[in-house]
Structures are given as structure tokens and as C-alpha cells.
């Protein structure tokens, strides 16, 4: 932040530097991937032959439809989990609302691939639940069979996106919208169908398309569940086993990007011009009513059942990390701390690497995010929006694609003095993490900047502060809450990112936690230590999430207090 303020050559210079960074580490690698996908591998001439090959190979066709099926089914299952919860919180005076809010956060603090193996032990064919079901009822339900497993793990992890967006949409409906319909004679289901549902629809679609995007792009979960006949795993396997010149990885990348863009576009269309923030001053949200006793019992039953399912990866992971042997039994045979001792004793570099990479990436994100936010919203630079578009565009680039792009682009680029290609230097992992998290950090910084009234800046300038001094002394301090929250969020998500990382780790000693978990989980003997490592990751992310929540809440309270004071005068 201070570097920005001291940069000698003005906003335009900063903008150019940022533009060059995004060009080199986002645009060129992605362009390269697309280019290679449309290039004949032998002659280098432009061609569609790779795509023809792709769709003529039954494995790829199957992978394509599997990915599509898994993504769509995950949306369905996630909706089934999220909809009742959203309805309870917004429609009833329900004490369990806090439980539901917690439910909305818990899954997000554990990346899906971390819990995947634990879920297999709980819900697999020989997992705890099926052992019990078999003993009691003589049945076996294939929760985790093949694609089912991916769908279950992904939807448990990503349903909060739908829960949060849908609840927000429902809460944004002004009570008068509903009352006016009642006043005109509508009630019950008709009222819901004609007024409440259409008004909440954009929020739901936005959440659902995010889930689709995340699941369609996810590499870690299918890999850990050993489901390889999906697009992202195929891309990874082609590049890592056949080699960087195999065109299929690139074709898959293009397809992944296209579908990501499609999902983002859908979500954009859903929200565009339909931000039905209909709440006026005074009471917002739908009419809430009290629950009858049996209704309350039912609601609690649903919430607690959901909570159990949502917590099952966490429970499973905890058991696994403290267990000795856990196989063909409901619970582990015995409990031990050995897994943690092993992880901390022998592979502590996973943890230190993670802290270093995620910390650096998050720092880059907030510095760039603040700079871009300021340039876009507070200066008149020509083409400044492009910085925003570019940085936000990273949303549409799956980690695998970015990883492949970096490998392809930076393999020939030697790092000075180190005598190795940039693509295998650990710094490239940091850059990949930074680029992938930049859209989120940028939104946090933009939100923070919009809280700072332009008049506050003008007052500083009026009193003789230059632009840079103003940014340094007024804007950045006032944005600090949002910047810190952005930093922590970037840090937490970067700490457990696997898909780009897995492509870019070239030496075990450079690997972060997520990669370590992946490696450990490959073998039955490694599951215990892998789970211990997973627990450490969960704790890091959990603490970070909590901190960011605290920072945001404090900011909200302060603003509310200021508003109250200002209003009271």
C-alpha cells in the first residue's frame, strides 16, 4: 500500500505495471492454452482436429458428460440442502437461525478434497454408515460410488453459496411486496409462486451458477476419490503423465473455460437489472411468523440432520487424524497422536510453505486490489475499467487451466541467477495463487473504497495533500477494515488451493499443505497423517475465517455507531 503511495510515476505508471502483471500472468498463459488447443501438434497450423479427436475418444466424451452430470446434480443436491434452511431463517421466528448461519460457514472452511477420503470412510460401501445400515436393515446405499461420491462431497461443500445468496435474496424482499399481494387477495402457495419465488429467483440462480462453476472446475475432489473419468482430472493426468505437448489437456482447458464463462454469464444475467433490493427504510424481509411446537420440532430435526451431514467430513477427518487403523469398522480401532507427531516432525515444511505462499499471495492481492480499486473508481485514466475486467476475469479461469498455461508459458523462461525455469520456481506458485484470489480481494477492496466518501478525499486535497498523500493518509486507513478482511479471505482460500498448485509443484520441498494432503492420501498408510495435515489446514482456515468475520463485523458496528451518532445530532 505504501509502495503504491511512493511510486514515483503517478497513477498511469501504476496502472501500466498492474496491466503488465495481469498480461504476463493471466492473459498470455490463458491465450497460450487456447492457442495450443487450436494448433496442429505436428505442423503448428491452426486446426480443429484436436477437438474432433477429443469428441471421438470415448473416454473424453464420457468425462465431458460426467463432469456436466456431476456439476448439475451437485446443484440439485445443494439446492435440496439449502432451500429449507433459507426458508426457515427468512420466514419464521426461529431460534435455530444461528445454527443455520453457522451451517453456512462450516463447509467453506474445509476444502472439499480434504474431507473426501474421510467421507469415503463414513459413507463408502464399507464405511461406518453402510456397516450400520447393513447390520440393522441389511441394506447398502452407494453414497460414495463413483460419481455419487463426487456429487455428495461437492454439494455438502458448496451448498452455502446457494444458502447465502438465496437467504440474501429473500431478506431483500420488502415486506410490503408480500403485503400488497395479500391486500389484493393472494395468499399461501399462490402468493409464494407469484411474488416471493420470482423475486428470490435471481439470487438463487446466482448461487446455483457459482456452485456449477466450482464443481465443474474442481480437480482435487475427483482426484482424491479416484474418479478420473471427469474433465479436470483428465486434463491433469494428460499433462502430468503424457506430457506438456499433449493437446488433449489444452482442449479440456478450453472446454472448462467456456463452461466457466457460461456459468458466470448466467449468474450475471440473473442478477443484471434484477437486483430486486426492494427493501425500503424500516422493516425489511418477509413476514415472519412463530412456529407451532410440532413445526418447531420438525424444523430443528431438519436443521440438525443437515448439520450432521454437513459436519460429517469434519467428523470423519477428526476421527481419521486421531485414529490408528480404520478399515471395515464403524469407528477407528484405537486413538493416537502419532499422526500429528509424524506430520509436524517430518513434514513441517508443508505448513511453513503454505504460510509463506498464502501470506505472500494475499499481500499481493490486497496491494493490487487496493490499487486497482482506486484507479478504477477514483481516477479518470483511459481504459481503467480494463484492469477491473482483467482481474475479475480470473474468476473464469479454472486452476488447472492456469497451471497448464504457466507450465507451457514459463518453461522456457529462465530465472536469473537460479538457473531453473520460472515454471518450476516456487514463486510461480505464489503468483498463481495471487492471480486466482485477486477477483475476491478486489471486490473486498472496491467495497471498502465505496465506504469512503469522495468528500473525505477532497477535504484532504483541499488542505494541501497530494493525491498520493491523500491515498496514504486518508483512503487506505479508512479502507483498512476491508483490506484486512480481503487479505484474510485471500490467505485462507489460497492456503488450501490444490488445482493450480498441483500442476506447479516441482519438488516436494516446495510443496504446500494441500499438495501434502494429496500425496499422503494416495496410500492407505498415509491417510492418518494426511488427515492430521488436513486438520491443521482446517484450523488455519477456520481461524482466518473467524478473524475476517470479526474484522468485518467490527467495521459494520463502527459504521452503525457512526451513523447513529450522526443521526442523533
Amino acid at each position: 500500500m505504501t509502495t503504491f503511495a511512493r511510486t514515483p510515476f503517478g497513477p498511469a505508471g501504476v496502472a501500466i505495471l498492474l496491466g503488465v502483471f495481469l498480461l504476463v500472468f493471466l492473459v498470455i498463459p490463458v491465450a497460450k492454452v487456447v492457442f495450443v488447443a487450436f494448433q496442429d501438434p505436428n505442423t503448428g497450423a491452426p486446426t480443429l482436429v484436436n477437438f474432433v479427436d477429443f469428441f471421438n475418444t470415448s473416454l473424453f466424451r464420457e468425462s465431458f458428460f460426467n463432469s456436466l452430470y456431476v456439476a448439475l446434480m451437485s446443484v440439485v443436491v445443494a439446492s435440496v440442502i439449502a432451500m429449507p434452511l433459507a426458508y426457515f431463517t427468512t420466514r419464521f421466528n426461529f431460534n435455530g437461525a444461528i445454527l443455520i448461519q453457522t451451517l453456512g460457514v462450516i463447509p467453506l472452511i474445509m476444502p472439499p478434497f480434504v474431507g473426501a477420503v474421510a467421507m469415503q470412510l463414513l459413507f463408502g460401501t464399507n464405511g461406518s454408515i453402510n456397516l450400520l445400515l447393513d447390520e440393522w436393515f441389511g441394506i447398502n446405499i452407494p453414497f460414495m460410488e463413483g460419481l455419487n461420491g463426487v456429487i455428495l462431497v461437492e454439494s455438502i461443500h458448496y451448498f452455502p453459496f446457494i444458502l447465502i445468496n438465496l437467504s440474501a435474496a429473500l431478506n431483500n424482499i420488502d415486506r410490503a411486496m408480500e403485503e400488497s399481494a395479500q391486500n389484493l387477495g393472494a395468499s399461501g402457495l399462490r402468493l409464494f409462486r407469484r411474488i416471493v419465488f420470482p423475486l428470490a429467483m435471481p439470487g438463487y440462480v446466482a448461487g446455483a451458477s457459482l456452485v456449477f462453476l466450482k464443481v465443474f472446475d474442481d480437480l482435487g475432489t475427483p482426484l482424491l476419490l479416484n474418479v478420473n473419468n471427469m474433465l479436470a482430472p483428465q486434463a491433469y493426468l494428460r499433462i502430468s503423465s503424457i506430457g506438456i505437448s499433449d493437446p488433449m489437456g489444452y482442449v479440456i482447458s478450453v472446454i472448462l473455460v467456456l463452461f466457466s464463462l457460461f456459468a458466470l454469464w448466467t449468474s450475471f444475467l440473473a442478477m443484471r437489472g434484477k437486483e430486486y433490493a426492494t427493501v425500503q427504510k424500516g422493516g425489511g424481509g418477509l413476514m415472519k411468523r412463530d412456529l407451532r411446537v410440532w413445526e418447531k420440532a420438525g424444523a430443528y430435526a431438519v436443521v440438525i440432520f443437515t448439520l450432521l451431514i454437513v459436519l460429517s467430513p469434519h467428523i470423519g477427518l477428526t476421527l481419521l487424524s486421531f485414529g490408528t487403523i480404520w478399515s471395515f469398522s464403524v469407528l477407528p480401532d484405537a486413538y493416537t497422536l502419532a499422526n500429528y507427531q509424524e506430520v509436524i516432525g517430518t513434514t513441517s515444511e508443508y505448513i511453513t510453505n503454505t504460510m509463506l505462499y498464502a501470506g505472500l499471495a494475499a499481500l499481493i492481492d490486497v496491494v493490487f486490489g487496493t490499487a486497482i480499486a482506486y484507479l478504477v473508481w477514483r481516477t479518470g485514466l483511459v481504459g481503467r475499467q480494463w484492469l477491473d475486467y482483467l482481474a475479475t476475469g480470473a474468476l473464469a479461469i479454472p486452476g488447472v487451466v492456469l497451471g497448464i498455461g504457466y507450465l507451457r508459458t514459463f518453461y522456457d523462461v529462465e530465472v536469473p541467477f537460479l538457473d531453473k525455469p520460472l515454471a518450476s520456481w516456487w514463486v510461480i506458485i505464489v503468483v498463481a495463487l495471487a492471480v486466482r484470489r485477486l477477483p475476491y480481494a478486489l471486490r473486498a477492496c472496491v467495497a471498502a473504497l465505496q465506504q469512503v466518501a469522495v468528500a473525505l478525499e477532497e477535504a484532504a486535497e483541499n488542505l494541501g495533500a497530494t493525491k498520493f498523500r491523500t491515498v496514504k493518509r486518508v483512503v487506505v486507513p479508512l479502507m483498512s477494515g476491508g483490506i484486512i478482511a480481503g487479505f484474510i479471505t485471500s490467505f485462507a482460500t489460497a492456503a488450501v488451493e490444490l488445482s493450480a498448485t498441483i500442476m506447479l509443484v516441482s519438488a516436494e520441498s516446495d510443496a504446500p499443505l494441500s499438495y501434502g494432503i494429496y500425496v499422503f492420501m494416495q496410500s492407505a498408510a498415509g491417510r492418518g497423517p494426511g488427515a492430521a495435515l488436513g486438520m491443521i489446514a482446517v484450523i488455519i482456515v477456520g481461524v482466518a475465517t473467524y478473524l475476517s468475520h470479526r474484522v468485518i463485523e467490527r467495521g459494520k458496528r463502527e459504521r452503525a455507531l457512526e451513523a447513529a451518532l450522526a443521526g442523533g445530532v
Binding site: A176, E179, Q182, N183, G185, A186, P198, L199, T278
Partner: protein, 360 residues
């Protein structure tokens, strides 16, 4: 469904509480068929709660609410056929103007052709025939207000309820809309109740009004009557600027006489039954002149000095220090009239006929 002719609204001893907070206490009112009635009061006075109770929103009140002869106290909102225009208009953003207006008719299972005809008529009535296919967001505030009105009256409700109908409009539009709503109400001969915190709105629009404060009706009557003969200090103050002097009343020779601690005295035109209380007189009912220039018969002179002068256009407002009191006097301004400067010695003339007595 629609009854012939306008109906009355009777509110009998209604109490409403939100949890432990009492919002309305012992409210009783009889609103005549076809009347344009206003609930006037400051925010938090319970006026919106009362309106919403008539529409069926909010907690079920204790007491009875009758529309026509029907007791609607426990009826859900969608069975009342009472039209309400919300303060925020509450137009559904996902429907076109036409769809919004047709909604209530569709809920009433009216035939499609009939719906088309009535929606057209309603849009025509509010002058928005051209705007049927627009979305609410594409309309100005005034147009949205008209759509909300059309949407409500198209179902031919028994009673029309308007919640702060003008509060979201700018000043010019407000005056226009005031007339339009009144004209519409007369045309439809619809019993109408509207809520406002603005006494000018209530004065200009309503046949009668009820002034509410702290959940209790303070006074009911014709606007001018309430302004001139307020029943208590709250009404006197809320409806306009008031000079209030506290003191004691004594009966002399069959007439009451007011006397305050600083020695101000004046005869009262009727017999006051209480001993201590206050007198109230409005600034425009007073006269101001140079000392010793003589008074009309019966006028009580109060000598004082001008503390400050405010020129307000059509009137000049003087603050005159009379003993320990500051009395406001409005003199209508005519070009060339003499204006008393600050610190000038003056005499304020009080006409006992314009003095209101208030119990403590």
C-alpha cells in the same frame, strides 16, 4: 363481492401491542361512508399501525373493526377486500405495470377479457395508458404512485387505505398528486383513510381527521375546527404554531378570567370549569402596534419589546418579549407596511374571542 355504494368503517375500542410495547390504546372511531379521513400524528404515534390493522396486517388487535356491517377483526388480509396503497408503493419489480394492475383481478378469478377491460380503464383513470408494458423501475416516482393507486382501485375495494401517499414525492408533485388523489376519491365515491405526519396534507385533503399521539386518539374533527379549537396542548402544537401561557382561572361576575404568574391578565369568553390550566392563541390572531395607539373594544393589550423579526414573505413574524414570555405575532405583509425594528417597544393585542383555554 363489491357492496353497493360506499361503506363505513367502525373501530371499537381497539388495542394493539407488539410484544409488551403498547402501540394503540382504546381507539374508537366512526368513519362515514364515502368520507376522506386522515390519521395525523408524529412518527411512533400508532397511525400506521391503525391503518394496517384495518387492512389486516400486524398483530390481531383487541376490540372490533367493522367494515360496513362485517366484523373483519380476525379476517386475514386477503379476505377483506380493502385496498391499500403502500408508502413504498410495493410495485412488484418482476412484473410489468399491466401485470401489476391485473394481479388483484387475477386473484379474484375474473375472466381474462374483463381483466383487460378493467385494467385499461384503471390505467386510463390514472393517466398511464401508454405505460402498461413498462417495468416499475422505468417509471418516475409519481408514475409509480399512480400505478399503485390503479392497482388498488381496479379491484373495487370497499375501503381505500393510503399509507403516507405523498411522502416519497418531491414538493411540486406532492401538490399535484394531492388534488389527483382527492379527485379520484370523489369520482369513485370510496371511503378513504390516509395516514400522514404532515398537517398540511391532512388539512387540504381530508373531510375529517383524527390526531394521534402515543397510540391514543387526541381529537377527531374537521381540520379547521381542530386547528382553531384544539382539545389539548398536543393538538394545538402539532397543527401549527401556538402561543401558550400557563396560569390560573377564576370566575368573576359570571365570566372566567385568566391570570398568570407574571401578571398577564385577560378575560375569557366562557366559563372555565378548571382552576389551573393554560391559554393558547395563534400568532396570526394577534395584532401588533405602537404603544398607546388605542385598541378596539375588548382587545387585551400586552406591552413588550420586539426581540427579533423574521420576514417570511406573505407574513412578518415578530417575537415579542412580554414579561418572561416570548409571544409570536404574525402580521400579514403588504408592500409598504411599516415593520417594527428589533428592540422597538410595541403592544400586542389579544382578542379574547380567539383565546383557547386548555386544562392542565
Amino acid at each position: 363481492m363489491a357492496e353497493r355504494g360506499p361503506v363505513s368503517v367502525r373501530i371499537e375500542d381497539v388495542h394493539v401491542s407488539f410484544g409488551r410495547t403498547r402501540v394503540l390504546t382504546g381507539v374508537s372511531l366512526h368513519i362515514e361512508p364515502g368520507e376522506f379521513f386522515a390519521f395525523l400524528g408524529p412518527s411512533g404515534s400508532g397511525k400506521s399501525t391503525l391503518l394496517r390493522a384495518i387492512a389486516g396486517f400486524g398483530p390481531t388487535p383487541a376490540g372490533r373493526i367493522l367494515i360496513g356491517d362485517q366484523d373483519v377483526t380476525t379476517l386475514p388480509p386477503w379476505k377483506r377486500n380493502v385496498g391499500m396503497v403502500f408508502q413504498s408503493y410495493a410495485l412488484w419489480p418482476h412484473m410489468t405495470v399491466r401485470k401489476n394492475v391485473a394481479f388483484g383481478l387475477e386473484e379474484r378469478k375474473v375472466a381474462a377479457a374483463e381483466i383487460r377491460r378493467r385494467v385499461d380503464a384503471a390505467l386510463e383513470l390514472v393517466g398511464l395508458s401508454e405505460f402498461g408494458e413498462r417495468r416499475p423501475a422505468q417509471l418516475s416516482g409519481g408514475q409509480q404512485q399512480r400505478v399503485a393507486l390503479a392497482r388498488t382501485v381496479v379491484v373495487e375495494p370497499r375501503v381505500l387505505l393510503l399509507d403516507e401517499p405523498l411522502s416519497n414525492l418531491d414538493a411540486n408533485l406532492r401538490v399535484q398528486m394531492r388534488r389527483d388523489i382527492l379527485e379520484l376519491q370523489r369520482k369513485l365515491a370510496l371511503t378513504t383513510i390516509f395516514v400522514t405526519h404532515d398537517q398540511e396534507e391532512a388539512n387540504t385533503m381530508s373531510d375529517r381527521m383524527a390526531v394521534l399521539n402515543d397510540g391514543v386518539i387526541q381529537q377527531v374533527g374537521v381540520p379547521m375546527q381542530l386547528y382553531d379549537r384544539p382539545a389539548n396542548l398536543f393538538v394545538a402544537d402539532f397543527l401549527g404554531t401556538a402561543n401558550v401561557l400557563e396560569g390560573r382561572f377564576a370566575v368573576e361576575h359570571g365570566r372566567s378570567r385568566f391570570r398568570d404568574e407574571s401578571g398577564i391578565e385577560m378575560p375569557i369568553n366562557d366559563v372555565v370549569k378548571y382552576e389551573s390550566g393554560a391559554v393558547m392563541f395563534r400568532p396570526q390572531n394577534l395584532t401588533i402596534q405602537s404603544p398607546g395607539s388605542g385598541h378596539a373594544a375588548g382587545i387585551v393589550p400586552l406591552p413588550g419589546t420586539v426581540q427579533y423579526v423574521e420576514f417570511l414573505g406573505s407574513i412578518v413574524r415578530y417575537a415579542v418579549a412580554v414579561g418572561p414570555h416570548v409571544i409570536l405575532v404574525d402580521a400579514s405583509h403588504r408592500q409598504g407596511d411599516r415593520v417594527f425594528p428589533q428592540d422597538a417597544a410595541v403592544e400586542v393585542g389579544v382578542d379574547p374571542a380567539c383565546v383557547i383555554t386548555l386544562a392542565q
